[in-house]
Amino acid sequence: GPKVLQIPSHQIIDMGQMVTLNCDPVSNHLYFYWYKQILGQQMEFLVNFYNGKVMEKSKLFKDQFSVERPDGSYFTLKIQPTALEDSAVYFCASSLGLGVYAEQFFGPGTRLTVL
């Protein structure tokens, strides 16, 4: 079936550094999402993105977070600067549309460790 890829699978950085998480969504999908999962807890919505714009973001999407998808390349999540509480697995997802087309396909996640 359709696959979402995420690069890298693991990232370890020092607090205060910048990190960029990359997502390669399903090729014909139009809606893109980031979710955050802290170990042992449930997955939580961060942000969704459509037509070059953030449509909705949660309270977890701090000012230090930003997303973009320049020219149809990777859909990225940038954190600058990082904090200890940003350590989590970040999942990217994409969907073809909304409503009956709203099935989201998920990537395998990027495990971010902030030291």
């Binding site: 949660s58 909304l98 099935e103 989201q104």
Partner: protein, 115 residues
């Protein structure tokens, strides 16, 4: 506000038994409901969804779920269960804002099927 509750963190069954994983939700509008499965080290895989219409929906891998508006539930079922069904299962609700969707996940149920 929207929320999803999966009251059973762990469920252990013998192979061949019938399984039912519980999910309840809270949402002010008509819900879109999903079940996803996550095998160790893998990304979330879509199992099935309820959008509208028939309250019993069938999905992949022999699973089905029943939407019950009366008690706001969307329980996942399969009979008989197979050892390969051992995984973590997530129920999710799609909350729709203008122009975009987000998924709200439950905490997940870890299912162990003993041979």
């Amino acid at each position: 506000a929207q929320s999803v509750d999966q009251p059973d963190a762990h469920v252990t069954l013998s192979e061949g038994a019938s399984l039912e994983l519980r999910c309840s939700y809270s949402y002010s509008a008509a819900p879109y409901l999903f079940w996803y499965v996550q095998y160790p080290g893998q990304s979330l895989q879509f199992l099935l969804k309820y959008i509208t219409g028939d309250t019993v929906v069938k999905g992949t891998k022999g699973f089905e779920a029943e939407f019950r508006k009366s008690n706001s539930s969307f329980n996942l079922k399969k009979s008989p269960a197979h050892w390969s069904d051992s995984a973590k299962y997530f129920c999710a609700l799609e909350g729709r804002t203008e122009g975009a969707d987000r998924l709200t996940f439950g905490k997940g149920t870890q299912l162990i099927i003993q041979p």
